[in-house]
Amino acid sequence: MIASISSFALNGLDGVPVTVEADVNKGLPSYELVGLPDAAVKESRERVRSAIKNSGYSFPVHKVTVNLAPAELKKEGTAFDLAVALCLLKASEQLVTRDTDGYVFLGELGLNGDLRPVNGILPMLISARDKGYVRFVVPDGNAREAQYIAGVEVFAAKNLRETVEHITGEKPLVPVPVRSFAAARHEETEDPYDLKYVRGQAMARRALEVAVSGGHNLLLVGPPGTGKTMLARAIPSVMPDLTFDEALEITKIHSVAGDVGTEGILTRRPFRTPHHTATTASMCGGGSHGVRPGEISLAHGGVLFLDELPEYKRATLEALRQPLEDGVITVSRATGSVTYPASFMLCAGMNPCPCGNLGSKDKPCTCTPAQIRRYRGRISGPLLDRIDLQVEVDGVGYDDLTSDREEESSAVVRERVNHARKIQRERFRGTSVRTNSEMREAEIRKFCRLSAECDGILRAAFEKFSLSARARARIIKVARTIADLAYSEEIAPAHICEAISYRMYDKNGS
């Protein structure tokens, strides 16, 4: 007899419906699984066999053929186990019901029949819903991820037996209740990284605020131990709160990577700090078992912090250039290409020189000019060009550290950031641009008219520091953000000057 069951596969973040078909026939007892399965899917045979036996059913002693359609799509992972098992029960007439139609089954089976959670449930559910599927059975362990999606009926089953009894109506399961994003946010604890713990560093704090307001990238340069990492860690706390749609998009990526936290949805903006030994594949996405999202995609909607920037492999850094411009990364492999969103704020930290003390008020630098040049040369001009704000973070005096004066907290800064973002949203209404940093030439001409005085200042800087055309455009964008923070319609000379001052590395001629 022949039977079929619906399941889902992932291609990047897009769900693809997969029909599992089983044919149980007379003949030599055998089991054949076709439809481009990878090793994990192939192994489903032994899991499914044991799970069926240990759930009190019998594995068909017949010629069994299982097909995963569409046959040309490469199938990976263990999420088909449940669908294969149900299909075999149906084909061997142990499960006599037509009610499996309209359901999508996802889940990995244990040898005892238990359902184990699988990765990528959220993007699969969302795509499936958009394709018109409304009823799902998922492993109990994935229920938290499924509870934020409205308009679907999700049933969380603990094992194969529960699934079967649900379908036949013997013991129907209760759908997972829909939970609001606000409820998840409510569970959120206080961010341990807050700007109020950062002492001094007025210049860096200001640059950080500007960077977050306009979605610009930030480079913090300073001697070791001066608070670069602390500042960077506080960035997510001043970023605007996640909207539900943003949270879903970010969680989708993290779901594929198998990390959705305890709430089943990300309530905070991600902060990723890949170590400088990271490979290009781990940074941009890839890998031998399908194309996994890389660090830049996991940082989508949040911050990618690269500490000790010159220590990263050059190829890895150069690979960031294109996603920095486009906000997406397309990873191509011989088996096909996958596009992941990668719209993140880049924050980098580095020392000014190998010994770390160049430009410090009190410590002498022992590096030779050649050493410093070599050190800075590890970061290519094109990458540096894309970092709009480059600020120095210097050591803090002892009195500043011990003073009782409470520094401005993240909440206060976030207020201003939210306001600047609101101005930008209204400005770019109806376009795909969301922040000042995303402006293209057309928008720059429209929204960033420079007075004669501003133009004069910019011309002088352009010629003196031999800036690139891109650097000029980026200075204007930063000036626009500074003007927004000052509630100014026009870009004033002071705004341009401040924007230019953030390009210290161009000035140093490095």
Binding site: K26, G27, L28, P29, S30, Y31, V61, H62
Partner: protein, 120 residues
């Protein structure tokens, strides 16, 4: 070793085991179709009908459990032989039917019936 006493003893032991196994299957309600069914691929100890299934049974006889369990001796090569023999049997039969490969372990304690011991 060709005509050694050991070999002779093993032959007798095997034949006795197969007789016991056949009697056991009969008692369980199977119909014995063939004993020592010879094909170009090798010999099948017992071919029987168990309900709707045709059973190809390999009989393993042991006088002690000093070694491994008898079924462990049915290795991949022997399984292959049975599968080929079953194909040969099917083509001779000319009709589709359900097949099964069983192993019967004959020990002094009795007969152990391992249904559906392997598949292709």
């Amino acid at each position: 070793m060709r005509h050694s006493p050991q070999k002779f003893y093993k032959k007798i032991l095997g034949a006795a085991g197969e007789r016991r196994a056949a009697a056991f299957l009969k008692k369980q309600g199977c119909k014995i179709l063939k004993r020592n069914y010879r094909t170009p691929f090798g010999e099948v100890d017992i071919v029987a009908r168990d309900g709707a299934d045709i059973v190809f049974a390999e009989v393993k006889t042991r006088t002690s459990d000093a070694f491994d369990v008898p079924a462990a001796a049915v290795d991949a090569r022997k399984q292959r032989r049975y599968i080929d023999a079953a194909r040969y049997f099917l083509s001779a039969l000319g009709e589709e039917c359900n097949l099964r490969f069983d192993v019967l372990e004959v020990t002094p304690d009795g007969v152990e019936w391992l249904k559906n011991a392997f598949e292709c």
